[in-house]
Symmetry: C2
């Protein structure tokens, strides 16, 4: 494909090959190399409230786009709104920077646990396709005001009810077209939702793997809607009709499989349920009976719902204790995960189980069987870690 | 007690005895007579999207207050806000009526199912302590603006962060004082939350059992915060310190009991988890094997989260089918329950099981054991109905 076709309206280039990928941290566990999908070792996650950028999971659908000249970048906002606009990065930055501490989680996080029960399709994520970062950027509600859409609007005068984010990357699922996804208009216009057009991650300009120079960050919603490498934003009457909105990221019941799936029967996922993982110890750690261990992990819920309680058992569910939740930071603590820990005496062989409750008293399902779904999304079943004692020396 | 002490600032009278109770529908199932706590037969609930007022559950903590003269009524709004105000009913009505279709559910709904496992304290509610009504009134956000509090505010300039609703009824739990409860300030100031000061229910002036002449209606939150017979509203720095906010309506884990409960360790419940009941058939209906039955029920979730799917099994969980959700009504369908139905051939003896999923993919817990709590609140475990065949004639 000619170089000229690689360049999009925004000035972003969409490479057709994987020979210009950015450098990545060698500790990442690679689930797929092209496109690059990787997560950190789960033990790294519980080490800091803010996930260092190199350890933040990378979720891609094609070669990483390139911006050769930041000054050339233009974001187009168009569709069912009063004043279509085009903005440079400098113009976006002049609108005032806001900082939001928010976790992003791939809907496929913990998919491999689900596929152990029965095969599912999708990237084989462990429990570390989640991270918590400080995002800097301009509130989308403020940018939409510039384009004539009122704060808090549920619908534009011309009938716009959805905000579509369009990227430039070449996705196999879109037959080589770009990744795109939408959120309801009200989520974008409501200042409390704190949807950002982000140009910074953890205080640095957005790295290439995370959407350089501009991405959506939609707090409280599955990562799939926080579109990277933004080319344009369209205000639409209906939801985005792209693959990732219509033929993926939907929640089916366990009895629906590939031979009887009807994608149009279900809503696209936005908000997500209460979720948790034990980051340490892992099943690779052999522990001597009677040892005191610190069980550590993360917990989060969608929609700005905080974590109310984390329950841990080190004896397979016979007895339970409440873990300590580490102090939260960020806007009303709504969008960030909660790290937690509990010291306990363990007697392997044993199973550590952890589960949590959010402020709405939502609970995690006890058995993955009850939420198995063909795409393996949103596995939030109780987290179980089998711990063995050290092998006897022969 | 002298008549003069019965009359509150608002003009409402708080009787000390139960000899002036309003008339009630004879079909109600009475869980407690004084105070009057009653719910309809569960089969009545699935008959209409809007619950007729006579069938709407009645939840009281003392004798029903009396307003002798509507023109005497005054609502006081005071505390940490710029302009304390007093408003007559006529003044409140002149601010413009809004109508909100919202379900209210007692946090104790389905408590008796939980107490079958192990005793809990509280009114013995079945699965009908819930109803869906059309509420008419003035948005609280609009009234607070009159008092100098900005729309969308999280805090007032003088540090107010909570809105306390104070009633006039005499509650044993408050040592004869009135029922009171609070919600976060932002919930009250955010127009999207649609918190109402309601003076109408289903198109009629608020009946005495439901808070005549004025009550709070807080959509998406447990019924306990929708305080009836409003005497005053206080803007506070901290949550309401009353019994029902601090020593009740909190979610404890199953291993906490009355001998080790620490009320200050937990948040007060506002938002609630995904919930469902089968309204028909009930375990009292004996059904011949091979009969076609229509399984009907309601489903709802807190926080404005819609119901995404209802799953029904008529063979104890061996096979499942999706129920049909009836069309929703009201503001973006957010605050009202979803009625559902499914036709199925049943072969008693059998167990009907129903469970649902909300838009955030939150699920109901499979076993009540995992959410048992000493106060028996928010039992949202899978709903099970044992159906027997007709007894053989001897
Ligand atoms: Mo994802
Ligand atoms: Mo209640």
């Amino acid at each position: 494909m000619a170089e000229s076709k690689e360049k999009h309206e925004s000035g972003l280039l969409a490479p057709t090959s994987y020979d210009k990928e950015p450098p990545r941290d060698p500790s990442l566990i690679i689930n797929s190399k092209t496109p690059f999908n990787a997560e950190p070792p789960v033990g790294a996650l519980a080490q800091s409230f803010i996930t260092p950028t190199p350890h933040f999971y990378k979720r891609n659908h094609g070669p990483i786009p390139i911006l050769e000249n930041e000054e050339e970048y233009r974001l187009t906002i168009d569709g069912l709104l009063p004043h279509p606009i085009k903005l440079t990065l400098a113009q976006l930055k002049s609108l005032g920077k806001e900082v939001v501490v928010a976790s992003l989680m791939c809907a496929g996080n913990r998919r491999t646990e689900m596929s152990r029960l029965k095969a599912v399709r999708g990237v084989g994520w462990g429990p570390a396709a989640v991270g918590n970062a400080v995002w800097g950027g301009v509130p989308l509600s403020r940018v939409l005001q510039l384009a004539g859409v009122s704060q808090g609007a549920w619908e534009t005068h011309s009938g716009g009810r959805h905000v579509e984010f369009v990227s430039v990357d070449r996705c196999k699922e879109e037959k080589g077209g770009p990744y795109r996804a939408s959120i309801p208009l009200h989520m974008a216009t409501c200042p409390d939702q704190e949807v950002l057009l982000a140009y910074e991650m953890n205080g640095e300009p957005l790295p290439r793997d995370h959407g350089c120079p501009l991405r959506a960050v939609v707090p409280g919603v599955i990562g799939a809607r926080s579109v990277k490498w933004l080319d344009r934003i369209n205000i639409l009457a209906d939801e985005c009709q792209g693959f990732f909105q219509q033929l993926d990221y939907k929640m089916f019941p366990p009895w629906v499989d590939w031979d009887n799936v009807n994608w149009s029967s279900r809503s696209s996922i936005q908000d997500f349920p209460v979720q948790l993982a034990v980051c340490s110890p892992t099943s690779k750690d052999s522990i001597a009976p009677g040892s005191k261990v610190t069980v550590k992990g993360y917990a989060l819920s969608g929609g700005g719902r905080k974590i109310e309680r984390v329950d841990v058992s080190v004896d397979g569910g016979a007895t339970w204790a409440e873990a300590q939740r580490l102090p939260q930071e960020g806007t009303h603590g709504r969008w960030a995960w909660t790290l937690w820990s509990l010291s306990a005496i363990v007697n392997p062989p044993c199973q550590i189980i952890a589960k949590c409750v959010d402020v709405a008293s939502n609970t995690q399902p006890e058995r993955v069987e009850t939420i198995w779904n063909l795409r393996g999304v949103l596995n939030n079943s109780w987290f179980r870690v089998d711990i063995e004692p050290p092998k006897a020396r022969l």
